[in-house]
Symmetry: C2
Subunit: 467 residues, 2 copies
């Protein structure tokens, strides 16, 4: 039987080198491309044929369309002038790990379906427990906790709401009485995760002047809800909110959660990476008593999306809530109890080899290299914050947090939006305009893999030229 319509290994060699070259050139020119796509709705679709091709197309056509169809519709997250949202960083070793993992095409639903996928994941996440200064019981090799890679922090946050819900329901609480808490500044995934998990009561609590959760507000809400016959079940605290990078009082929340028997989930999706630097760890003091902790190497740790890490302090209830064992998945290794089957750690059954890129990034940069770049980004943000403070027509709206600077024009919303618009009119800069209540402001997230002081200088000039 012939190879039929499959690409042969030799064709793969040739086309693989073409794609590697394409990506290398993309790396070299991404800073010069217009950072934000300017296509209109429907413009990309209009370039595509109405129906799928009946006959095979040559690889050259695919590569050509990467330039002709895809690139005009890309907003360049990898450009060094990227100060928008939070970054979603790629890096050379991470991209190549994606290639190797796709080439292996292994699927790690069970330990036995490729032990390396499970063991490298468990091991590298144990490495990260130490790198982030988290407690040893989060390690799979120590227990009773453990770590797992998920697709996004939203998935992790949703899952812990499911597990906390099941714990409460098993304890006799009616599902429609359960209450989930976070600050009003928590990421939208917290409210969404709670709702998807079936919580009908979600409390978004008051924040203080720096947009951190007020521990007193949490305590009052729990007491009121309990008095009203509801069942306080879970609280999510943030180490670095998306809005302004606010850090909730983790230790106070941990104490309240322990006192009232709530699940305490720490969302450090973006700022978790900064915990590699010991001088930042005071921000998460108290997290060692949390029930779960999540952070995204795919944001600020040079590891391609998707790569979210979730640690739980006790993996038993987690697995109990999510496990299933149909006959076609039974195997000796699972039954021995000596292995981890990650299918029991999330909603999806199948899983690819995402740990490879995390392993390659940690080894390629070394902890030293990662800390170097994280500190560089933080220093750039601190310096930008100083300049804002010194400028008569700009002001910060929150403390510089890790590598996020939130600022506005002193004249108010209209002037602030005009500054944002002026910055984003530069084809090599992108910031995210945002708001808290009626106050408009500009988020400057420093942290794209290749952002340097020159990029921050360009941003500063673009900002100050118009005011």
């Amino acid at each position: 039987m012939s190879d039929g319509f499959h690409m042969t290994p030799d064709e793969f060699r040739r086309h693989g080198q073409e794609v590697v070259e394409w990506v290398a050139e993309y790396m070299e020119r991404v800073g010069e491309l217009p950072i934000a796509s300017t296509v209109l709705p429907g413009e990309i679709r209009a370039r595509l044929p109405e129906a799928a091709p009946e006959e095979p197309e040559p690889f050259a056509a695919l590569l050509r369309d990467l330039d002709d169809v895809v690139l005009p519709g890309i907003t360049h997250w990898q450009a060094p002038g990227w100060f928008a949202y939070f970054p979603a960083n790629a890096s050379g070793p991470s991209i190549l790990a994606e290639l190797a993992a796709a080439g292996l095409g292994a699927q790690g639903m069970l330990w036995t379906t490729s032990p390396a996928l499970t063991e490298i994941e468990a091991h590298v996440l144990d490495w990260l427990v130490d790198l982030l200064g988290l407690p040893a019981h989060f390690k799979t090799a120590v227990g009773p906790g453990g770590g797992v890679i998920q697709m996004s922090a939203s998935d992790s946050t949703h899952l812990v709401h499911v597990v906390a819900r099941d714990r409460a329901v098993t304890g006799g609480a009616p599902i429609d009485r359960l209450v989930a808490y976070s600050s009003a500044q928590a990421h939208s995934s917290v409210e969404r995760g709670a709702r998807v998990a079936g919580f009908s009561h979600v409390r978004l609590l008051d924040v203080d002047t720096v947009f951190a959760l007020r521990a007193g507000a949490l305590r009052e809400a729990i007491e009121q809800d309990r008095a009203a016959g509801l069942e306080p079940t879970i609280v999510t605290s943030a180490v670095g909110t998306t809005g302004t990078g606010a850090v909730d009082p983790i230790a106070d929340i941990a104490a309240i959660a322990l006192e009232h028997d709530l699940w305490h989930h720490v969302d450090a999706a973006w700022a978790g990476s900064a915990m590699l630097c010991e001088e930042q760890r005071h921000h998460q003091a108290g997290a060692e008593r949390a029930d779960s902790y999540t952070f995204n190497p795919h944001k600020w740790l040079f590891t391609n999306f998707d790569c979210n890490v979730l640690w739980v302090a006790d993996r038993a209830p987690f697995i109990a809530a999510l496990s299933s064992l149909p006959p076609y998945l039974r195997n000796a290794a699972s039954e021995s109890g000596e292995v981890i089957d990650y299918r029991d750690w999330h909603v999806p059954l199948g899983r690819r080899f995402r740990a490879l890129k995390l392993w390659w990034v940690l080894r390629s940069y070394g902890a030293t290299g990662l800390r170097h770049h994280l500190r560089e980004h933080i220093a750039l943000a601190v310096e930008l914050g100083r300049r804002v403070d010194a400028h008569p027509r700009l002001e910060r709206v929150a403390p510089v947090s890790f590598a996020l600077v939130c600022l506005r024009h002193v004249d108010g919303n209209v002037a602030t939006d005009a500054v944002a618009k002026a910055i984003n009119a530069h084809s090599d800069l992108l910031v995210t305009p945002s708001a808290i209540g009626d106050m408009r402001f500009i988020r400057v997230a420093v942290g794209q893999t290749h952002t340097t002081s020159e990029d921050v200088e360009r941003l500063w000039k673009a900002m100050t030229d118009v005011i």
Copy 2:
């Protein structure tokens, strides 16, 4: 400022070619590697250093460990002798699309964060509606339905349970009264998805002699539950169960779902790919009236894991259940209503460019090429089924379904397990032993990208040599 610890574009060129070569060689030798990893629990971890490296390691060390540490722990899903589980196929164009997508590093949470990601995804899924013979209202461009790529069928199944739950609760039903239905042979993800979505009543219904859901059993269960004050909410039907490839009576279930106002979800995770072949479509007659339909190009359509497709007949309730719009995500395109923001179509907020590999696979093979390989796999399975029927000591336990053959030794369980063990003792063959009730059997899933008649011959010889 220097490049610091980052891999430069030129280093990426060099190492990229090394990884391409490694993958090409892997493709050439995967058939000769021992298909199932034989490492013991903990063996891979024991090869890894206790702590993350402080200093950067050279790329050569990473590549070396791909051979020394990773390969021994890989069970080779891409080997042509893979007849286990269902396949999780890779292919050249798909692997290279993963590389290109990782290189772009774009994140498609909103249309505006990279319009090409959203528009190519929507368009290619519309192509697939036609390729699979599904109704035009599943198309995003036609509506009111639409398609979205998820990580796994488990995610899709979980999500539709959430949406059906919210519809019922909004209609006044208490959440703890809702009931979800499927056959006892449905994939474990159906029960799990329902439980994760908060259903406390899950009915796994009787099957007929070919392991398909009995429509009568569904009707009776609905009537009994309603009489007991419960709220029948959703039914999942299977086009090709995981156990034996059984096809539920989709049209009958569709009629019952319409009559009783249940959400009807069709799970064609594996067999959906076969619908590219018109002669297979009678199996899904009735699916045009379903509320949702899911299939996995990452199983049998030569598109690397992860790539699951979910279509819904009406996207409005789907989006209503899952949307959120914090201020930092607001933008003119979203507010115009002219674009799709896929963040509202699943639990994760972020998303990578998975549509690229699906687009490249459809174009590289063409519909003709895909049908050629699907029909080849099906023909191989049909021929294997004939041989089983003609053999005095083997028997099928279910009809040959698409490309799945389920068989046992006529002497019963012990003899059947011995056959499975004998097959799997060959280092180039892998099958999955399974069971229904007390009956042990062997699942032979034909469909790995490179499986040919020679591989099936080897399997047949291994099977019949020992009986």
